[in-house]
Amino acid sequence: MSTNLIDIKGLNLWYGENQALHDVSMSVKPNSITALIGPSGCGKSTLLRSINRMNDIIAGCRVEGEITFHDKNILAPETDVMALRKKIGMIFQKPNPFPMSIKDNVTYGPRLHGVTDRESLDKLVEECINKSALWSEVQDRLGASAMSLSGGQQQRLCIARALSVNPEVILMDEPTSALDPIATNKIEDLAQDLKKDYTVVIVTHNMQQASRISDYTGFMYMGKLIEFDKTENIFENPSEELTERYITGRFG
Protein backbone atom coordinates (compact mmCIF):
# COMPACT_ATOMS: atom_id res chain seq x y z
CA MET A 1 0.00 0.00 0.00
CA SER A 2 1.38 3.41 -1.02
CA THR A 3 2.13 6.11 1.57
CA ASN A 4 0.99 8.62 -1.03
CA LEU A 5 -2.58 9.83 -1.06
CA ILE A 6 -2.56 10.29 -4.82
CA ASP A 7 -0.30 8.59 -7.35
CA ILE A 8 -0.32 9.77 -10.95
CA LYS A 9 1.34 7.34 -13.33
CA GLY A 10 2.00 7.79 -17.04
CA LEU A 11 -0.82 10.28 -17.52
CA ASN A 12 -1.48 11.36 -21.11
CA LEU A 13 -4.37 13.64 -21.97
CA TRP A 14 -5.70 14.89 -25.30
CA TYR A 15 -8.16 17.63 -26.14
CA GLY A 16 -9.23 16.30 -29.54
CA GLU A 17 -6.01 15.96 -31.54
CA ASN A 18 -4.03 18.19 -29.23
CA GLN A 19 -2.06 16.35 -26.57
CA ALA A 20 -2.07 18.49 -23.42
CA LEU A 21 -0.30 16.13 -21.00
CA HIS A 22 2.63 13.86 -21.85
CA ASP A 23 3.41 10.88 -19.63
CA VAL A 24 3.05 12.75 -16.34
CA SER A 25 3.92 10.85 -13.18
CA MET A 26 3.94 12.33 -9.69
CA SER A 27 2.72 11.66 -6.18
CA VAL A 28 0.86 13.70 -3.61
CA LYS A 29 1.59 13.04 0.02
CA PRO A 30 -1.20 13.35 2.59
CA ASN A 31 -1.36 16.55 4.67
CA SER A 32 0.98 18.39 2.36
CA ILE A 33 0.71 21.28 -0.04
CA THR A 34 1.82 20.51 -3.58
CA ALA A 35 2.25 23.40 -6.00
CA LEU A 36 2.22 23.18 -9.79
CA ILE A 37 4.03 25.95 -11.61
CA GLY A 38 4.86 26.68 -15.22
CA PRO A 39 4.11 29.10 -18.05
CA SER A 40 0.60 29.60 -19.42
CA GLY A 41 -0.62 26.64 -21.42
CA CYS A 42 1.88 24.21 -19.89
CA GLY A 43 -0.87 21.86 -18.69
CA LYS A 44 -0.81 22.56 -14.95
CA SER A 45 -4.53 23.33 -14.70
CA THR A 46 -5.31 20.36 -16.93
CA LEU A 47 -3.30 18.13 -14.60
CA LEU A 48 -5.07 19.61 -11.56
CA ARG A 49 -8.48 19.11 -13.12
CA SER A 50 -7.61 15.50 -13.93
CA ILE A 51 -7.31 14.73 -10.23
CA ASN A 52 -11.07 15.04 -9.69
CA ARG A 53 -12.01 14.34 -13.31
CA MET A 54 -13.21 17.84 -14.05
CA ASN A 55 -11.89 17.34 -17.58
CA ASP A 56 -14.67 14.80 -18.16
CA ILE A 57 -17.03 17.65 -18.94
CA ILE A 58 -14.86 18.88 -21.82
CA ALA A 59 -15.94 17.42 -25.16
CA GLY A 60 -13.21 15.52 -26.98
CA CYS A 61 -11.09 15.04 -23.87
CA ARG A 62 -9.37 11.66 -23.72
CA VAL A 63 -7.16 10.36 -20.94
CA GLU A 64 -4.70 7.47 -20.66
CA GLY A 65 -2.72 6.39 -17.64
CA GLU A 66 -3.58 6.04 -14.02
CA ILE A 67 -4.46 8.27 -11.10
CA THR A 68 -4.83 6.35 -7.88
CA PHE A 69 -6.53 7.84 -4.87
CA HIS A 70 -6.42 5.57 -1.82
CA ASP A 71 -4.93 2.97 -4.18
CA LYS A 72 -7.98 2.96 -6.49
CA ASN A 73 -7.71 4.14 -10.07
CA ILE A 74 -10.09 7.10 -10.31
CA LEU A 75 -9.88 7.03 -14.11
CA ALA A 76 -11.64 3.65 -14.14
CA PRO A 77 -15.07 3.89 -15.80
CA GLU A 78 -16.84 2.56 -12.72
CA THR A 79 -15.64 5.49 -10.56
CA ASP A 80 -18.49 7.40 -8.96
CA VAL A 81 -17.43 10.86 -10.13
CA MET A 82 -19.81 12.71 -7.81
CA ALA A 83 -18.46 10.84 -4.78
CA LEU A 84 -14.93 11.50 -6.03
CA ARG A 85 -15.53 15.26 -6.26
CA LYS A 86 -16.98 15.19 -2.74
CA LYS A 87 -13.65 13.80 -1.54
CA ILE A 88 -11.56 15.99 -3.85
CA GLY A 89 -12.98 19.50 -3.85
CA MET A 90 -11.95 22.39 -6.03
CA ILE A 91 -11.41 26.13 -5.66
CA PHE A 92 -11.25 28.21 -8.82
CA GLN A 93 -9.41 31.33 -9.91
CA LYS A 94 -12.43 33.58 -9.66
CA PRO A 95 -14.50 33.28 -6.47
CA ASN A 96 -17.81 31.71 -7.48
CA PRO A 97 -20.19 31.75 -4.52
CA PHE A 98 -23.78 30.78 -5.24
CA PRO A 99 -26.17 33.76 -5.39
CA MET A 100 -27.67 32.90 -2.03
CA SER A 101 -26.92 33.62 1.62
CA ILE A 102 -23.53 33.00 3.20
CA LYS A 103 -25.01 30.22 5.30
CA ASP A 104 -26.81 28.57 2.38
CA ASN A 105 -23.60 28.50 0.39
CA VAL A 106 -22.09 26.29 3.06
CA THR A 107 -25.15 24.09 3.65
CA TYR A 108 -25.86 23.57 -0.06
CA GLY A 109 -23.56 20.58 -0.45
CA PRO A 110 -24.50 18.75 2.75
CA ARG A 111 -28.21 19.25 1.95
CA LEU A 112 -27.62 17.79 -1.49
CA HIS A 113 -26.07 14.79 0.24
CA GLY A 114 -29.10 14.41 2.49
CA VAL A 115 -28.20 16.27 5.69
CA THR A 116 -31.35 18.07 6.86
CA ASP A 117 -30.99 18.32 10.62
CA ARG A 118 -30.91 22.04 11.38
CA GLU A 119 -28.69 21.75 14.43
CA SER A 120 -26.12 19.69 12.51
CA LEU A 121 -26.17 22.16 9.63
CA ASP A 122 -25.70 25.15 11.97
CA LYS A 123 -22.77 23.40 13.61
CA LEU A 124 -21.30 22.59 10.22
CA VAL A 125 -21.65 26.19 9.03
CA GLU A 126 -19.74 27.50 12.05
CA GLU A 127 -17.10 24.77 11.77
CA CYS A 128 -16.46 25.27 8.06
CA ILE A 129 -16.51 29.06 8.13
CA ASN A 130 -14.20 28.94 11.12
CA LYS A 131 -11.80 26.63 9.30
CA SER A 132 -11.78 28.98 6.36
CA ALA A 133 -10.84 31.88 8.68
CA LEU A 134 -13.97 33.86 7.85
CA TRP A 135 -16.12 33.37 10.97
CA SER A 136 -15.16 36.54 12.82
CA GLU A 137 -16.00 38.58 9.73
CA VAL A 138 -19.43 37.09 8.94
CA GLN A 139 -20.80 35.48 12.11
CA ASP A 140 -23.34 38.26 12.64
CA ARG A 141 -24.58 38.30 9.04
CA LEU A 142 -24.83 34.68 7.95
CA GLY A 143 -28.14 35.45 6.26
CA ALA A 144 -26.61 38.16 4.07
CA SER A 145 -26.03 37.51 0.40
CA ALA A 146 -22.66 35.94 -0.36
CA MET A 147 -22.39 38.39 -3.23
CA SER A 148 -22.08 41.24 -0.69
CA LEU A 149 -18.71 39.92 0.49
CA SER A 150 -15.38 41.18 -0.79
CA GLY A 151 -13.45 39.07 -3.32
CA GLY A 152 -11.15 37.64 -0.66
CA GLN A 153 -14.07 36.85 1.63
CA GLN A 154 -15.94 35.21 -1.27
CA GLN A 155 -12.93 33.01 -1.98
CA ARG A 156 -12.72 31.94 1.67
CA LEU A 157 -16.47 31.25 1.59
CA CYS A 158 -15.87 29.02 -1.44
CA ILE A 159 -13.25 27.18 0.60
CA ALA A 160 -15.77 26.82 3.47
CA ARG A 161 -18.27 25.48 0.93
CA ALA A 162 -15.71 22.94 -0.31
CA LEU A 163 -14.99 21.87 3.29
CA SER A 164 -18.70 21.37 4.06
CA VAL A 165 -18.82 18.00 2.31
CA ASN A 166 -15.84 16.70 4.28
CA PRO A 167 -13.26 16.38 1.52
CA GLU A 168 -9.77 14.93 1.90
CA VAL A 169 -8.14 16.89 -0.89
CA ILE A 170 -8.63 20.50 -1.98
CA LEU A 171 -7.51 21.46 -5.46
CA MET A 172 -6.88 25.17 -5.93
CA ASP A 173 -6.58 26.62 -9.41
CA GLU A 174 -4.83 30.01 -9.08
CA PRO A 175 -7.02 30.84 -6.07
CA THR A 176 -5.47 34.25 -5.39
CA SER A 177 -4.89 35.62 -8.86
CA ALA A 178 -7.98 37.83 -8.60
CA LEU A 179 -7.21 38.99 -5.05
CA ASP A 180 -5.26 41.86 -3.51
CA PRO A 181 -2.11 41.16 -1.44
CA ILE A 182 -3.91 41.20 1.92
CA ALA A 183 -6.61 38.79 0.76
CA THR A 184 -3.86 36.69 -0.84
CA ASN A 185 -2.01 36.51 2.50
CA LYS A 186 -5.15 35.29 4.20
CA ILE A 187 -5.67 32.52 1.63
CA GLU A 188 -2.01 31.50 1.92
CA ASP A 189 -2.23 31.36 5.73
CA LEU A 190 -5.45 29.43 5.37
CA ALA A 191 -3.81 26.89 3.05
CA GLN A 192 -1.13 26.32 5.70
CA ASP A 193 -3.82 25.75 8.35
CA LEU A 194 -5.81 23.47 6.10
CA LYS A 195 -2.99 21.03 5.54
CA LYS A 196 -3.34 19.83 9.13
CA ASP A 197 -6.63 18.19 8.14
CA TYR A 198 -6.53 18.15 4.35
CA THR A 199 -4.20 17.72 1.42
CA VAL A 200 -3.85 20.68 -0.91
CA VAL A 201 -2.76 20.81 -4.54
CA ILE A 202 -2.44 24.34 -5.89
CA VAL A 203 -1.78 25.73 -9.34
CA THR A 204 -0.16 29.14 -9.22
CA HIS A 205 1.52 31.59 -11.54
CA ASN A 206 3.12 33.23 -8.56
CA MET A 207 6.42 31.47 -7.88
CA GLN A 208 6.91 33.28 -4.60
CA GLN A 209 3.54 31.94 -3.53
CA ALA A 210 4.58 28.40 -4.44
CA SER A 211 7.85 28.79 -2.55
CA ARG A 212 6.12 30.34 0.47
CA ILE A 213 3.37 27.84 1.03
CA SER A 214 4.09 24.50 -0.62
CA ASP A 215 5.99 21.43 0.56
CA TYR A 216 6.44 19.99 -2.93
CA THR A 217 6.56 21.72 -6.30
CA GLY A 218 6.17 20.42 -9.81
CA PHE A 219 7.41 22.46 -12.76
CA MET A 220 5.54 21.83 -16.00
CA TYR A 221 6.40 22.85 -19.54
CA MET A 222 4.56 22.00 -22.75
CA GLY A 223 2.48 19.32 -21.10
CA LYS A 224 5.42 17.59 -19.44
CA LEU A 225 6.29 17.48 -15.79
CA ILE A 226 9.90 18.60 -16.08
CA GLU A 227 10.81 18.36 -12.42
CA PHE A 228 9.07 17.42 -9.20
CA ASP A 229 10.79 17.74 -5.85
CA LYS A 230 10.66 19.26 -2.40
CA THR A 231 9.92 22.96 -2.78
CA GLU A 232 13.18 24.06 -1.18
CA ASN A 233 15.14 21.99 -3.71
CA ILE A 234 13.21 23.40 -6.67
CA PHE A 235 13.75 27.00 -5.63
CA GLU A 236 17.25 26.71 -4.19
CA ASN A 237 18.90 24.19 -6.45
CA PRO A 238 16.72 22.70 -9.20
CA SER A 239 18.11 19.65 -10.99
CA GLU A 240 16.87 20.57 -14.44
CA GLU A 241 18.30 23.43 -16.49
CA LEU A 242 14.82 24.25 -17.81
CA THR A 243 13.47 24.67 -14.27
CA GLU A 244 16.42 26.90 -13.36
CA ARG A 245 15.83 29.06 -16.41
CA TYR A 246 12.12 29.38 -15.72
CA ILE A 247 12.34 30.30 -12.06
CA THR A 248 15.20 32.74 -12.61
CA GLY A 249 13.30 34.46 -15.41
CA ARG A 250 15.76 33.46 -18.16
CA PHE A 251 13.08 31.63 -20.08
CA GLY A 252 12.58 31.85 -23.82
Binding site: Q208, F235, E236, N237, T243, E244, I247, T248, G249
Partner: protein
Protein backbone atom coordinates in the same frame (compact mmCIF):
# COMPACT_ATOMS: atom_id res chain seq x y z
CA UNK B 1 12.43 43.59 -15.79
CA UNK B 2 14.28 40.30 -15.41
CA UNK B 3 16.85 41.47 -17.97
CA UNK B 4 17.49 44.55 -15.84
CA UNK B 5 17.89 42.34 -12.78
CA UNK B 6 20.40 40.08 -14.54
CA UNK B 7 22.32 43.11 -15.82
CA UNK B 8 22.45 44.45 -12.24
CA UNK B 9 23.55 41.03 -10.97
CA UNK B 10 26.32 40.90 -13.58
CA UNK B 11 27.44 44.38 -12.51
CA UNK B 12 27.44 43.28 -8.87
CA UNK B 13 29.56 40.26 -9.79
CA UNK B 14 31.96 42.67 -11.50
CA UNK B 15 32.17 44.76 -8.31
CA UNK B 16 33.05 41.67 -6.27
CA UNK B 17 35.79 40.77 -8.76
CA UNK B 18 37.09 44.33 -8.56
CA UNK B 19 37.13 44.17 -4.75
CA UNK B 20 38.81 40.75 -4.90
CA UNK B 21 41.52 41.97 -7.28
CA UNK B 22 42.17 45.00 -5.10
CA UNK B 23 42.55 42.88 -1.96
CA UNK B 24 44.75 40.37 -3.81
CA UNK B 25 47.05 43.23 -4.83
CA UNK B 26 47.03 44.53 -1.26
CA UNK B 27 48.02 41.12 0.07
CA UNK B 28 50.68 40.63 -2.61
CA UNK B 29 52.24 44.04 -1.89
CA UNK B 30 52.03 43.67 1.88
CA UNK B 31 53.97 40.39 1.67
CA UNK B 32 56.59 42.05 -0.54
CA UNK B 33 56.75 44.97 1.90
CA UNK B 34 57.32 42.65 4.86
CA UNK B 35 59.68 40.20 3.17
CA UNK B 36 61.84 42.82 1.44
CA UNK B 37 61.37 45.82 3.72
CA UNK B 38 59.74 47.81 0.93
CA UNK B 39 58.14 50.94 2.39
CA UNK B 40 56.52 52.04 -0.88
CA UNK B 41 54.60 48.80 -1.11
CA UNK B 42 53.50 49.03 2.53
CA UNK B 43 52.26 52.60 2.05
CA UNK B 44 50.36 51.61 -1.09
CA UNK B 45 48.44 48.99 0.90
CA UNK B 46 47.52 51.45 3.65
CA UNK B 47 46.39 53.98 1.06
CA UNK B 48 43.97 51.45 -0.45
CA UNK B 49 42.49 49.88 2.68
CA UNK B 50 39.57 52.32 2.73
CA UNK B 51 38.74 51.45 -0.87
CA UNK B 52 38.22 47.80 0.12
CA UNK B 53 35.88 48.89 2.94
CA UNK B 54 34.01 51.18 0.55
CA UNK B 55 33.48 48.34 -1.94
CA UNK B 56 32.36 46.05 0.89
CA UNK B 57 29.59 48.48 1.90
CA UNK B 58 28.63 49.27 -1.69
CA UNK B 59 28.34 45.58 -2.66
CA UNK B 60 26.38 44.72 0.48
CA UNK B 61 23.89 47.53 -0.16
CA UNK B 62 23.44 46.54 -3.79
CA UNK B 63 23.06 42.83 -2.94
CA UNK B 64 20.39 43.64 -0.36
CA UNK B 65 18.64 45.93 -2.86
CA UNK B 66 18.50 43.13 -5.44
CA UNK B 67 17.18 40.69 -2.80
CA UNK B 68 14.45 43.06 -1.70
CA UNK B 69 13.35 44.21 -5.14
CA UNK B 70 13.62 40.98 -7.11
CA UNK B 71 13.33 38.06 -4.67
CA UNK B 72 15.80 36.00 -6.72
CA UNK B 73 15.65 32.22 -6.78
CA UNK B 74 17.81 29.19 -7.55
CA UNK B 75 21.19 30.11 -9.11
CA UNK B 76 20.54 33.85 -8.81
CA UNK B 77 19.70 33.53 -5.12
CA UNK B 78 22.78 31.36 -4.52
CA UNK B 79 24.99 33.93 -6.29
CA UNK B 80 23.74 36.80 -4.13
CA UNK B 81 23.95 34.72 -0.92
CA UNK B 82 27.52 33.81 -1.91
CA UNK B 83 28.43 37.42 -2.61
CA UNK B 84 27.11 38.56 0.78
CA UNK B 85 29.33 36.03 2.55
CA UNK B 86 32.31 36.41 0.20
CA UNK B 87 32.75 40.14 0.72
CA UNK B 88 33.19 39.58 4.45
CA UNK B 89 35.99 37.10 3.78
CA UNK B 90 37.58 39.35 1.16
CA UNK B 91 37.41 42.33 3.49
CA UNK B 92 39.11 40.29 6.25
CA UNK B 93 41.93 39.37 3.86
CA UNK B 94 42.28 43.10 3.15
CA UNK B 95 42.60 43.73 6.89
CA UNK B 96 45.32 41.10 7.18
CA UNK B 97 47.16 42.82 4.31
CA UNK B 98 46.89 46.08 6.26
CA UNK B 99 48.20 44.37 9.43
CA UNK B 100 51.12 42.84 7.53
CA UNK B 101 51.98 46.25 6.08
CA UNK B 102 51.83 47.85 9.53
CA UNK B 103 54.11 45.12 10.90
CA UNK B 104 56.54 45.76 8.03
CA UNK B 105 56.54 49.51 8.72
CA UNK B 106 57.10 48.95 12.47
CA UNK B 107 60.10 46.74 11.78
CA UNK B 108 61.50 49.13 9.17
CA UNK B 109 61.10 52.11 11.51
CA UNK B 110 62.72 50.28 14.41
CA UNK B 111 65.64 49.40 12.17
CA UNK B 112 65.22 45.69 12.97
CA UNK B 113 63.99 44.54 9.62
CA UNK B 114 65.74 41.55 8.06
CA UNK B 115 65.02 40.02 4.65
CA UNK B 116 62.51 37.19 5.15
CA UNK B 117 62.26 35.03 2.05
CA UNK B 118 60.26 32.38 3.95
CA UNK B 119 57.38 34.82 4.30
CA UNK B 120 57.44 35.23 0.52
CA UNK B 121 57.02 31.46 0.07
CA UNK B 122 54.12 31.34 2.47
CA UNK B 123 52.64 34.50 0.98
CA UNK B 124 52.79 33.02 -2.51
CA UNK B 125 50.71 30.01 -1.42
CA UNK B 126 48.14 32.19 0.38
CA UNK B 127 47.87 34.70 -2.48
CA UNK B 128 47.42 31.94 -5.04
CA UNK B 129 44.62 30.44 -2.94
CA UNK B 130 42.87 33.82 -2.75
CA UNK B 131 43.31 34.38 -6.49
CA UNK B 132 42.02 30.91 -7.36
CA UNK B 133 38.99 31.26 -5.09
CA UNK B 134 38.13 34.54 -6.84
CA UNK B 135 38.77 33.05 -10.27
CA UNK B 136 36.49 30.12 -9.36
CA UNK B 137 33.81 32.69 -8.51
CA UNK B 138 34.34 34.66 -11.71
CA UNK B 139 34.32 31.60 -13.99
CA UNK B 140 32.03 29.31 -11.93
CA UNK B 141 34.81 26.72 -12.17
CA UNK B 142 35.04 24.76 -8.93
CA UNK B 143 37.93 22.67 -10.25
CA UNK B 144 40.18 25.59 -9.32
CA UNK B 145 39.50 25.03 -5.63
CA UNK B 146 39.43 21.23 -5.55
CA UNK B 147 42.87 20.97 -3.91
CA UNK B 148 42.30 23.69 -1.30
CA UNK B 149 42.37 21.24 1.58
CA UNK B 150 45.93 20.15 0.77
CA UNK B 151 47.01 23.74 0.04
CA UNK B 152 45.59 24.84 3.39
CA UNK B 153 47.47 21.97 5.08
CA UNK B 154 50.64 23.19 3.37
CA UNK B 155 50.11 26.69 4.81
CA UNK B 156 49.58 25.24 8.29
CA UNK B 157 52.74 23.15 7.94
CA UNK B 158 54.77 26.21 6.85
CA UNK B 159 53.50 28.21 9.80
CA UNK B 160 54.58 25.50 12.26
CA UNK B 161 57.99 25.30 10.58
CA UNK B 162 58.37 29.06 10.99
CA UNK B 163 57.22 28.81 14.59
CA UNK B 164 60.03 26.36 15.34
CA UNK B 165 62.57 28.54 13.53
CA UNK B 166 61.37 31.68 15.32
CA UNK B 167 61.48 30.03 18.75
CA UNK B 168 65.01 28.84 18.09
CA UNK B 169 66.07 32.34 17.05
CA UNK B 170 64.41 33.92 20.06
CA UNK B 171 66.08 31.42 22.39
CA UNK B 172 69.42 32.13 20.76
CA UNK B 173 69.19 35.85 21.46
CA UNK B 174 66.61 38.05 23.18
CA UNK B 175 67.50 40.69 20.60
CA UNK B 176 65.53 38.63 18.08
CA UNK B 177 62.26 38.66 20.03
CA UNK B 178 60.68 41.76 18.44
CA UNK B 179 61.57 40.73 14.91
CA UNK B 180 60.43 37.14 15.24
CA UNK B 181 57.25 38.06 17.09
CA UNK B 182 56.31 40.11 14.02
CA UNK B 183 57.40 37.24 11.82
CA UNK B 184 55.09 34.84 13.66
CA UNK B 185 52.19 37.27 13.57
CA UNK B 186 52.55 37.68 9.82
CA UNK B 187 52.73 33.90 9.36
CA UNK B 188 49.52 33.68 11.36
CA UNK B 189 47.87 36.38 9.19
CA UNK B 190 48.85 34.49 6.03
CA UNK B 191 47.50 31.26 7.41
CA UNK B 192 44.23 33.06 8.18
CA UNK B 193 44.18 34.43 4.61
CA UNK B 194 44.32 30.81 3.44
CA UNK B 195 41.43 29.93 5.77
CA UNK B 196 39.38 32.81 4.35
CA UNK B 197 40.18 31.66 0.80
CA UNK B 198 38.83 28.24 1.84
CA UNK B 199 35.64 29.88 3.11
CA UNK B 200 35.28 31.71 -0.22
CA UNK B 201 35.83 28.39 -2.04
CA UNK B 202 33.11 26.71 0.04
CA UNK B 203 30.64 29.44 -0.85
CA UNK B 204 31.58 29.38 -4.53
CA UNK B 205 31.07 25.62 -4.53
CA UNK B 206 27.58 26.19 -3.12
CA UNK B 207 26.89 28.90 -5.70
CA UNK B 208 27.90 26.68 -8.61
CA UNK B 209 26.59 23.28 -7.51
CA UNK B 210 23.97 24.06 -4.88
CA UNK B 211 25.81 21.67 -2.55
CA UNK B 212 27.46 22.74 0.68
CA UNK B 213 30.96 21.46 1.42
CA UNK B 214 33.41 22.02 4.24
CA UNK B 215 37.11 22.42 3.58
CA UNK B 216 38.82 21.31 6.78
Amino acid sequence: MRNKFHADLDALTGDVIEMGNLVCNMLDRSVTAFANGDRVMADWVLEHKDEASRLDSLIEDEALRLLVLHQPMAGDMRRIATILKMITYIERIGRYAKNISNAAIDLMESGEHKPMPQISFMGAVAIEMVRDSLMAFETSNVKLVEDFESRDDELDRMRYDYLRTALAEMKACACNVDTYTSYLMVARYLERCGDNACKIAEKVHYMVTGKRIEIR
